[in-house]
Each structure stands twice: as structure tokens, then as C-alpha cells.
């Protein structure tokens, strides 16, 4: 036993010495890393339309003009994080993958709400901003209908939009999108049920993204606060790994503040009362019936999603009225959907292929 202990100890101490050696080398790498090395959102695109702080960008195609899909696709991201996750770095870019498959991509950048945006409601985001963006694309592309691709909360918005404006949507794709909020599988769902959202919104007006981040960290505290950085220390002597990590780290904590009235409605009507799948959700006085979604529909679900569990995302398939509908699920997490190897090799190509096939 003693001998084993000694050997074990020696090996482990050597490991710790090596670990700190790597950290030292990593620090040197960090000192040699410039902000330019960490840039995301590098694909060429044009700002084509703006309402308030929200902007609509049009990506420059990466295929010959005759190979670009005629029906454009508008990508709508969640309000709680930034849309450049879809183009986090050149070799891990879902958008690049879409463009290479010939999709004509637009993306909504919701911007950073400030206190002057505290009264913005879901109705404003969906029936005003999204609707104006869609109208712009329809007008400038000459297509009477466009494809919508919604990510996470952006998928919920896109579903509501499609249910209310079916004539403008050719096909709908939702990725890791919560629709049925009954479940308590994910901690956010469990906590939100009894959350005093009124006090939070009344206190802040626009709720700081930093507060939202605290709750995300609590979902996996040891993994996200301790082990993530230990893992980083073990590999930060590799400059490529270091840059990828820092880029992700930048995105994770780049969380815009939330327009209070929108958050209030999202939590109360959806997380707490689950009105959308029950058919009780109203926007601008109009009841949102998901059965009105009759266009071709694709739901993309992550098997290991700790933010939007499958119990919340899969039921959309039964909720919509589309005859042509499909579920794609992948063994990845919420973020892995965009940055994992599978994302580039399987997920983005399959979505592109589905959109191409349904955009005749």
C-alpha cells in the first residue's frame, strides 16, 4: 500500500507541476493574443434595415448567384444572448455552412436594450420588429414568402409569428426551442414557475443580463465555475485552443439586458401558465393558435440540452398544424448545436438540405 501510495503521489505531484507549467505557458499565449485574434461574426454581411436598436443583416452569398436559393431565410436568435454564436469562428460557423449550401441568409440582431426599451413587449418584438423585417425581405427579394429559422427563444417568437402571419412564411425551422413549459426537467423551468417576476421587472425596468447569467451558472456550478477553467488550464498552452476558449467565453457573458415587459410576459404567460401550447396565449389581442402553422416544419432538438430540455422542445411537433413536419434530434447540448463537430458535419448540412427541399 505504501509503495502504491508513494508512486501515486509522485505521479500526481508531477501532474500538478505539469499543470501549472501549462498554465504559465498559457499565460504567455494570452499575452500574445490580440482582440483581432478573437473576433467572431466575421462573415461578410450588409446592414439592410434597422428599427430602434434592432438590425437586420443580409449575408453575402458564398456560392454562384444562380445557385443561391430563391427563397430567403431569416434567422431569429434569442433575446438573452447574441446572434453571432451562429458565426462564432470561421471553422465553426453554422451560417457559413448554410451559405455554402446556397441558402440566402438574413439575421436579426436584437441589439442591447437599455432602460428606454423597458416597455417593449413581445407584441412589439414579434408583430412590429419581426414583421417589419419580414416585410423588408419580402419586398426586396421579390418572394411572397420567406423561410424562418428560430433559435431557442427566437424559435418561440418565430413559431408565434408564423401562427399569426402564415401567409408570409414558406417553411419554419425551430432549433432548441421551448414551446411546452409544463415540464420541470430543466432547472430554469422549475425555478421560473414560482419566480416573482413582477418584482424583478419592477425593480430593474430592463433586467440585467448579468443576473440572468448567474442563474445559468447555477445550473452546473462545479462544471461551469471550477472545472471549465481547470480544463482550460490544462490546454491553454495550445494557442488555437486558447483562442477558441476565449472567443466562447466572450460570447457566454455577452448577455444583453432584457426589456422588462417582454420578460414579464414570457415568464408569466409561458413559463408559469404555459399558455402557448394550451392555445390561450394572446398577442396584440389575438389568440395564437399553433395549429395555424401549416407550412413545412422542422424541429431540431438537442438530446443533452440542460437549458431547453426535450420535454419542452419536442411537443411543438404535435402542436403545429403542418402536414409536412420532421423532427431531427442530435446527441449534443444546447450550445453544442452550434459549435460542436456534429454541428458542422451533420446539423447545419441537414437543416440546409431540408430547407432546400422545401423551398421549391
Amino acid at each position: 500500500m505504501t509503495t502504491n501510495n508513494f508512486n501515486n503521489m509522485e505521479e500526481s505531484e508531477k501532474y500538478m507541476v505539469d499543470f501549472y507549467g501549462k498554465v504559465l505557458k498559457g499565460v504567455e499565449n494570452m499575452m500574445n493574443t490580440s482582440p483581432e485574434d478573437l473576433k467572431s461574426d466575421t462573415l461578410e454581411k450588409e446592414l439592410v434595415f434597422q428599427i430602434g436598436k434592432s438590425r437586420l443583416f443580409h449575408y453575402k452569398p458564398l456560392v454562384e448567384p444562380d445557385k443561391v436559393l430563391k427563397i430567403p431565410t431569416m434567422i431569429t436568435y434569442a433575446l438573452v444572448n447574441r446572434q453571432y454564436m451562429m458565426d462564432i469562428q470561421p471553422d465553426r460557423s453554422v451560417i457559413r455552412n448554410f451559405l455554402e449550401h446556397g441558402l440566402d441568409c438574413y439575421i436579426v440582431d436584437w441589439g442591447y436594450p437599455t432602460r428606454e426599451d423597458m416597455y417593449m413587449t413581445m407584441e412589439d418584438y414579434i408583430n412590429w420588429y419581426m414583421n417589419d423585417f419580414v416585410d423588408y425581405i419580402i419586398e426586396h427579394s421579390g418572394c411572397p414568402k420567406i423561410n424562418l429559422l428560430g433559435v431557442c427563444q427566437g424559435g418561440t417568437f418565430s413559431s408565434i409569428y408564423t401562427a399569426l402571419h402564415p401567409a408570409k412564411v414558406n417553411a419554419l425551422v425551430t432549433m432548441v426551442t421551448p414551446v411546452d413549459f409544463e415540464t420541470n426537467d430543466g432547472l430554469l423551468f422549475a425555478w421560473s414557475k414560482s419566480m416573482d417576476i413582477d418584482s424583478l421587472v419592477d425593480a430593474y425596468g430592463t433586467v440585467p443580463g448579468s443576473l440572468m447569467n448567474i442563474s445559468y451558472l447555477l445550473l452546473k456550478p462545479f462544471d461551469l465555475i471550477v472545472d471549465k477553467y481547470i480544463g482550460f488550464g490544462e490546454k491553454m498552452d495550445d494557442p488555437t485552443y486558447l483562442q477558441n476558449f476565449l472567443r466562447m467565453e466572450g460570447w457566454i457573458f455577452d448577455s444583453p439586458d432584457q426589456a422588462g415587459e417582454t420578460l414579464r410576459q414570457f415568464v408569466k404567460d409561458l413559463y408559469q401558465d404555459n399558455k402557448l401550447v394550451k392555445g390561450d396565449f394572446k398577442l396584440g389581442g389575438e389568440t395564437v393558435n399553433l395549429k395555424n402553422i401549416k407550412c413545412p416544419f422542422l424541429a431540431v432538438v438537442a438530446d443533452y440540452d440542460h437549458l431547453v430540455p426535450k420535454a419542452a422542445s419536442e411537443p411543438i411537433l404535435d402542436a403545429v398544424g403542418s402536414r409536412s413536419k420532421k423532427l431531427l434530434n442530435f446527441p449534443v447540448g444546447h450550445i453544442g448545436m452550434y459549435v460542436s463537430g456534429k454541428s458542422q458535419k451533420q446539423i447545419a448540412p441537414q437543416i440546409s438540405e431540408w430547407l432546400v427541399n422545401h423551398s421549391a
Partner: protein, 399 residues
């Protein structure tokens, strides 16, 4: 029929008796554990001496506040006392305002700089080192073949996790809050410091309190949560009511607002300490189980784990325990209560701040919110009108 003086005497006797029992209870615990000095200091710190006893001031004020006996003087006497207590607490306000100001919270989580990441790395590395030293110590002490050895290691494991929790909380929360609860000792110290002027003289059941303190001293982690709930209830039934009294006089609105702000601060402290005590309870239970499992495995003659395996086991065990705990109704309730109390405190202290700002020529939050609403309504109106114009233009062009 008993008169006012009789009721006053009954109340005073009850209170005196309560204080006597409380002191005796503390003395007996002190003797039992050979900690007389500690208990005496605790009694003093809890505001149990006559001079600092707010109950006396309250009773005096109430006594004088019988019809025809100088009600205004009595009321102002009571409010003066309340105000003085409040002023003491107000000295902490600038720090608290900083803590709960959106901008300051935001600054902790803005886009990370290299220095932020290095700082997070350094905190994680500190935890890694602590786990490594713990593992090393463990290996050196093998086999853990006596209950005493296991107990000693369980204690070390608890200290380790308490330190880890503190480091993790400092990563998530602004420093003013993170420092409030790194261990049971600091948690208790802070809790006691917060409520000593308010709730302690009002404790309804001395025997229950004595029992809780005994359990705390014996290392019962449940007792800390019980203590906080007990004190919180005592506050709710005593000063919690006073701070929510309807004010009178010219400055009644200000007085009410100030008292209610202090009340919301107290409630925030209670819910925060309760939340931390629950977290520490899970940390303690997990570290106990982890130490015992590992010791048992080693005693069975298994190969000792190298550090990487041990760290992996430590991480998984803790993560799983906390994941289960965070999914529990107990945590959800405490967490949401804390968030709600924090929001309420911000709402009330912001309003108080507005009162202070009213004297200087700057727009207040309420005024700005009104302005934001006007701008928002106008923006919508303009957008709708623009749409109408575009429609008309299209129609005109089509003709």
C-alpha cells in the same frame, strides 16, 4: 377589568421573564460546553442588556401613548428610536446600493477581459490546489481505520467545501454579498450582527432557541436553517410589524418609506442567509458522504486513486448533489424568496434615493420612466403612421 397599566405590567413581566430565561439558557449552555465567556459575549452582542433593549423604549412609548397622555410625544419618541436604529443601518446603504445597482452587478459580468479570465482561472486553480492538498493529506493518512480519523477527515472535507463554496460565490456575486456566507461561522456571525438590534429581545420561545443553539454547537447542519427561520419569524412578529405601522404627522410618508426600506433590507438579509445555510448544508452532507465512501473503499484494500481520478470523483459527486438540491422545492422556494426580497429592497431603496435626489436638480427614476413611456408610445405611433403613409403611397403609385 384590567387597565392599561395592568396590561403594560403583564407585557413587561413577560419580557423580563423571557430575557431572564434567555440569559439563563445561554449561561447553562456556556457551562455545559465550558464556554461561559463566549455565551456572555453572545448575550451582550444580541442586545440583551437593559440599556440597549428596544423593547423597553417601545413599551415606554406605548405607555405614554394612551389617550390624553401626550400622544404626540410618545409617538415621536417611538419613531425617534426607530429612526436612530434605521440611521445605524443607513450607514451601510451606500455599499448596499452599490451591490444592488444594476450597473454594478453588470460590471461583474460584462465582456470578460484577459484579467477577468485570469482571475477566474486563479480562483479555480485555488480550488484545484485545495482539492489536491486534501487528497495528498488523505493519502498520507491512510488507512482511515478509526472513527476518530474519519471524523477528522470529514471535518477537513467540510472545511474544504465551505472554502470552495465561498470562492464559487465570489465568482457569481458582488463581493459585498459573497463575503456574507463562506462558512457556518461567518454566516452565523453576520446573521447575528444583522438581527441583534431587532429580533432577539422578542424571541417567543426561549426553550426552542436554546435547543437550536445547542444543536448548532453540536454540529447539526439543519440547526442553522432552523435558527435563521426562527429569528426571521421573531422579527416578522416584532419589528417587522413596527416598520410597517401606519405613520402619522407631517412627515408620515417619509417615515413610512424609511421604515419599510429597512424592513425590506432585513427580509433580504434573512432570505439570503437562509439560502446560504441551505447551500452549506448540502455541501457538508456531500463532503461527509464523499470522505466516508473514499475511506471505506481504501480500507477494503482497493488501489488508491491518483489525484485526477479523485478530483473527477469529487467534482461529479458535488455536481450531482447540487444538481439534485437545485431541483428541489426547498431550494426553489429559498432562491425565489431571495430574488423577490432583493427586488423589493431595490424598489424601496430606489424610491428612498429619489427622495434624497429630489433636493438637487437631476431627473429622478420616476421622471425618466415616464419619459421612456412617452418616447415608447410616440415611437409606436410614428411607426404606425409611417406604415399608413407607405400604404397610401403604394396605392397612389398603383393608380
Amino acid at each position: 377589568m384590567p387597565g392599561y397599566d395592568d396590561y403594560f405590567k403583564m407585557g413587561k413581566d413577560f419580557q423580563d421573564n423571557l430575557m431572564k430565561q434567555y440569559k439563563e439558557g445561554l449561561e447553562s449552555i456556556g457551562k455545559l460546553y465550558g464556554m461561559t465567556d463566549v455565551m456572555e459575549n453572545f448575550a451582550k452582542a444580541s442586545g440583551m442588556d437593559e440599556k440597549n433593549n428596544p423593547v423597553n423604549a417601545w413599551y415606554e412609548a406605548v405607555k405614554a401613548y394612551s389617550p390624553g397622555e401626550g400622544s404626540y410625544d410618545a409617538y415621536s419618541k417611538m419613531m425617534n428610536y426607530t429612526w436612530k436604529t434605521f440611521q445605524d443601518q443607513m450607514t451601510k446603504f451606500p455599499e448596499l446600493m452599490k451591490t444592488w445597482g444594476a450597473a454594478d452587478m453588470g460590471s461583474n459580468f460584462s465582456m470578460p477581459t484577459m484579467m477577468d479570465i485570469m482571475s477566474r482561472m486563479s480562483e479555480s486553480s485555488a480550488i484545484y490546489n485545495q482539492v489536491f492538498n486534501f487528497w495528498k493529506d488523505f493519502q498520507d493518512s491512510m488507512p482511515l481505520d478509526t472513527p476518530e480519523k474519519i471524523k477528522a477527515f470529514t471535518k477537513k472535507s467540510e472545511d474544504l467545501i465551505a472554502e470552495n463554496v465561498k470562492t464559487m460565490m465570489s465568482t457569481m456575486l458582488p463581493p459585498q454579498f459573497a463575503d456574507l456566507g463562506g462558512s457556518y461561522a461567518t454566516l452565523f456571525e453576520n446573521m447575528n450582527g444583522t438581527f441583534k438590534s431587532f429580533a432577539s429581545p422578542w424571541l417567543p420561545d426561549q426553550a426552542a432557541m436554546t435547543d437550536i443553539i445547542r444543536r448548532m454547537m453540536e454540529g447539526d447542519s439543519e440547526a442553522y436553517s432552523d435558527y435563521i427561520r426562527y429569528v426571521s419569524d421573531a422579527y416578522t412578529n416584532s419589528f417587522g410589524k413596527i416598520f410597517n405601522l401606519v405613520g402619522i404627522g407631517v412627515n408620515r410618508e417619509d417615515t413610512e418609506q424609511q421604515a419599510q426600506t429597512l424592513d425590506s433590507y432585513m427580509r433580504l438579509m434573512f432570505s439570503y442567509t437562509e439560502l446560504v445555510s441551505l447551500i452549506l448544508k448540502i455541501a457538508r452532507k456531500t463532503s461527509e458522504a464523499l470522505t466516508q465512501d473514499y475511506a471505506a473503499a481504501m480500507t477494503d484494500g482497493s488501489e488508491p486513486m491518483d489525484f485526477k481520478k479523485f478530483y473527477s470523483m469529487w467534482l461529479k459527486t458535488n455536481e450531482q448533489a447540487f444538481e439534485n438540491f437545485f431541483a428541489s422545492a426547498e431550494f426553489t422556494k429559498a432562491f425565489n424568496q431571495f430574488a423577490s426580497d432583493a427586488s423589493q429592497f431595490k424598489i424601496k431603496s430606489d424610491k428612498l434615493m429619489e427622495k434624497m435626489l429630489a433636493q438637487i436638480p437631476v431627473p429622478t427614476n420616476t421622471e425618466m420612466k415616464s419619459l421612456y413611456k412617452t418616447v415608447y408610445d410616440l415611437r409606436k405611433e410614428v411607426a404606425a403612421l409611417q406604415k399608413q403613409v407607405q400604404e397610401l403611397e403604394k396605392k397612389a403609385a398603383a393608380k
